[in-house]
Symmetry: C2
Subunit: 439 residues, 2 copies
Amino acid sequence: MTTYWCERALAGDGDLIEGLVVETTGTHITSTRPASIAPEGCVQLVGLTVPGFANTHSHAFHRALRGRTQREEGGSFWTWRDAMYDVAERLDPESCYALASATYREMALAGITAVGEFHYLHHGVRGEPYDDPNVMGRAVVRAARDAGLRIALLDTCYLSSGFGVAPQGAQLRFTDGDAAGWAARVAELDDHTDPAVVIGSAIHSVRAVGRDDLSAVAAVRPGAPLHLHLSEQVAENRACIAQYGCTPTRLLTEAGVLDERTTAVHATHLADDDVRLLGDAGSYVSFCPTTERDLADGVGSARALVEAGATLTLGTDSHAVIDMSEEMRAVELDARLVSQRRGHWQSADLLAAATVSGQQSLGFADAGRIAPDHWADLVTFDLESPRTAGTGGGAEAVVFAASAADITSVVASGILLERDPQVVGRLLRDAIVPLMEGR
Amino acid sequence: MTTYWCERALAGDGDLIEGLVVETTGTHITSTRPASIAPEGCVQLVGLTVPGFANTHSHAFHRALRGRTQREEGGSFWTWRDAMYDVAERLDPESCYALASATYREMALAGITAVGEFHYLHHGVRGEPYDDPNVMGRAVVRAARDAGLRIALLDTCYLSSGFGVAPQGAQLRFTDGDAAGWAARVAELDDHTDPAVVIGSAIHSVRAVGRDDLSAVAAVRPGAPLHLHLSEQVAENRACIAQYGCTPTRLLTEAGVLDERTTAVHATHLADDDVRLLGDAGSYVSFCPTTERDLADGVGSARALVEAGATLTLGTDSHAVIDMSEEMRAVELDARLVSQRRGHWQSADLLAAATVSGQQSLGFADAGRIAPDHWADLVTFDLESPRTAGTGGGAEAVVFAASAADITSVVASGILLERDPQVVGRLLRDAIVPLMEGR
């Protein structure tokens, strides 16, 4: 049993608490109580403590591209994708583990306690299965757990390069041939026993899984999280309409894919009708604002989606930045840029998106609040750093003033994580430099 | 004489240098030479060293608002301005010094070696002059110098609340009654002798200085920097057209205000003709992307302005964030959001905007490069932090991956600044909390 005392806390119900004792046993919180003075023998968390962040959309290996794709004149999402495929072609189980492990350690420093890994790099370089056909997925899971994170492995079905075009190049590594092949491989992952690991599924996109396979793929893991890329690019919408005569959201709705366990990632370019369908389905959306900026996707209508009935969560996706404060404020700030109005979101609602809603979308229903019977995640921000000093110190400080660099302590699944940014920097360097420069 | 060795440097000509010796005498660089190994007795700067950043648009006292203006439902630039005026009404020379001093120390930590303070808080709370009518401006200058920064005090002429409406409330502190009153007060600032201080001038906006006064105000300090707020809000454009039948840019052009020493701040909402006028004038523009996001201003056309002949510089303005990496990348990323295209800017060009171009716009022509006879400013980024590790380590790392938290060392005007984020945090807290919560 470990007892923590939070000088100041946002436990998840919106109230700012001055002094909170949190008792934990193993991975979970057993009790909480207000206390203005720290009890003897407790671990003191000075600053503002919030629940653990959930990063609902990650491609861990994209971290290798940070600071390496900005050189070209011009370019688009699609030219960026070529650079990303170039990395995808070179990873093996060992380098995949090293890169994911370092990336997840960067996430842990940034207060992320659970990650949704949208994992599609399944097979060998010409598409041949490894001896264990899940060796890559298992490497990713092990990397997350070794870094102290819980993980939802969103094992991704990818069958075509675009509306029936056969996979090619790096895409050969992504495909299991058909939906049955994908389902058979994923079933083998059920041997895991760790409650900090959720095996979910993902439909890469309506480009990669055809209409006739959507229902079958969605039916494979009923009740588990199901994620999918949705309408990140206008070109995808156009091609879907050309192929099927309807938007991706409509297509997914008619296939019965959208419901309360589904998370639609990006959801950037939606028609009003699409927004209504996602809202009516009670689905989650995963906005990834720093990646959506980086990839020139555009600004989605998070506010409209939530008003329609969807639930907002946040992801760092390509890891151009790993900083949940930056993701939270970007939802509001990007909405301001396109609307020329302020005040679309309350800070507390953005914090809920980054914590409790995200945890739930990953299948960790008992996480994202500092409350009894919840996973023991405690993320503490320094309120007297050059960035946060003088801000008033509530949710607004975490959302609008802080950065990941202001996090001083992270408890994840009951473990007070070791923090050594220098070590994490070296792990990142050692994983990335040989991969990107060693050829 | 002090000798520095930069492990890696971007000296200002675009080339990445592996190993650079920089010799300084007093405030300036006397020589530079490549050297792969550090000479004995030098100060070693490990990481990537760039020239000092110039923050071309600052209202130091706005730092008190960080994390305190996001609570309202709805709101606009104009409701934000009410909150800002509320602070402006409560400052005196002592609290102004304390707040500016702490804010400038935050800037120094962030690698800013020169600041342009757009200073309009001149007089007592009912508009009465202080015994020294420049006591507030002098407090700001002293604060910058005590923090180690050079400063261009852009003493601001503010005569009307909006196209002829008399100043009211906090605005009483801003006005000198008429242009001659402003000029007479500013002339008294010529007693300064510090080469690290430039006394420039500013026209608050076409709202605050009428057409008939523009030329007179611009003529007061010929050759010195002249800054002005321009078309930050659509409402300003509309009101200007209603009053004068032309855009603010056209009005300023016809008054002869725009030339090579002028910096137009924001320049967000411009007609094509306005862009051409600013380009033809060879003026600077100061984009303040993190503030323009915060205030829901919109996204200006930096690329079009530069192609027309203007020079881009960057400012942190309201200090919602003080991080020049964030400002640099926001120019590109916000352009991507509205265009859905990548690659508007090369990293080296954004770095030039934040360094040499900015320094020049503030009147420090011999700054912003690591070169002989230039101000000795050296800003060093850690290339193995969790944010920067594995990025390749050139300009792209500083612009797209780093944050101010990755800066490990700052030499400003020949002085290796002491760095203690905790001290700066306490100074900020002690300056802001009594002001915002102590009433």
